[in-house]
Symmetry: C2
Subunit: 176 residues, 2 copies
DNA sequence: CCACCCTATGCAACGAGTTGCAATACCTGT
DNA sequence: ACAGGTATTGCAACTCGTTGCATAGGGTGG
């Protein structure tokens, strides 16, 4: 039930077409809320029907026409309302943790390989986030408003990746 | 596609009925893979049909009969196979992160309240995990096999909660 | 005995998300 | 002109998970 609100946030930051949103979701917003373009199109259609967003067809040079969506007053209201409502704490949901727990019931070496692959993956992500951090927020103390929030969420991404790396490292160490 | 395997792991640790599994999922396993009893019943039915588990009806005193499931050789094979297969790194999926990012578009005070509620919730969980740790694994260095894996996954839960607390703390601090 | 609660199993309907494919517009290379 | 590639939007079918409800056995309190 949150993709709608993720899109509202993205569109308030910057109106965009479905495909542009999909691309943006692969980057910053999608770090903690991913979505495919099909799903985005479907939800945009519903939000248009609900009057949360408005559409403007925009012609482009050398490309097909696109539909740019922007948030309406009704959408702004829905977003503000949602932001203040309490949310259930999201539980973990990790297939890898499952495999780590059940490793005794299979080939442990194979599980350790899976863990190593994830460790490498998280290292890449962490590196990516750190580069974003250095490039976009070299002076965190000076931030406020939207920028400050973006910085803080990126901080969350970094902390999360560091935790994964520490955890998987402990697991590999214990089974070395 | 992983609930089946979560159930296989749980049933290999200890055969159980649907409701017993649901209760166990609320505790240890469900820390990183939750499921309602309805879903568990449905999946157990499918796994029975696939020959991954076998059922024994067990009469109880003062209670309705229950169906105890146990993993078959076929199920063991399916589990061992799954354990060694590579897994996609699971992306975050946090409604709270969304609200933190979009706080500028609503009442920031209300969002901070939501964040504080989550912080308190994570503190409770962390406390719970630490008690489990103290009670069940006072001597981590001595562990091996299944116990070691359970310990390490619980470690992951603790690291995760500590990260949440640190992150949300930073957020509140920055908006103080 | 009747109302109520707990255990245990299960169905049906819905919503969210994924996967695979299709259609259209426009460009480039041959 | 035609083949192939990319951008853009979209449909259909499927799986996964949630919510609400149903059923049935058995206990307990008034």
């Amino acid at each position: 039930m949150a993709l709608e609100h993720a899109l509202l946030i993205a569109l308030r930051e910057q109106p965009a077409s479905g495909l542009e949103l999909a691309k943006r979701f692969e980057r910053s917003i999608g770090f903690f809320w991913s979505a495919t373009h099909q799903q985005i199109y479907r939800v945009l259609g519903r939000m248009d029907g609900d009057g949360w967003v408005g559409v403007t067809e925009v012609a482009q040079v050398g490309r097909p026409q696109k539909k740019v969506y922007a948030v309406t007053a009704l959408g702004e209201e829905a977003l503000a309302d949602w932001l203040g409502r309490p949310t259930h704490t999201d539980g973990l949901r990790s297939e890898l943790a499952l495999k780590m727990r059940g490793a005794s019931f299979g080939d442990r070496g194979a599980v350790l390989d899976v863990v190593r692959a994830h460790l490498a993956d998280h290292a890449v992500r962490l590196d990516h986030y750190r580069q974003l951090m250095k490039r976009d927020y070299p002076e965190p103390a000076a931030l406020s408003g939207l920028d400050l929030d973006h910085y803080l969420v990126l901080r969350g991404g970094i902390l999360t990746e560091e935790t994964w790396i520490a955890w998987l490292g402990e697991y590999l160490e214990a089974h070395a």
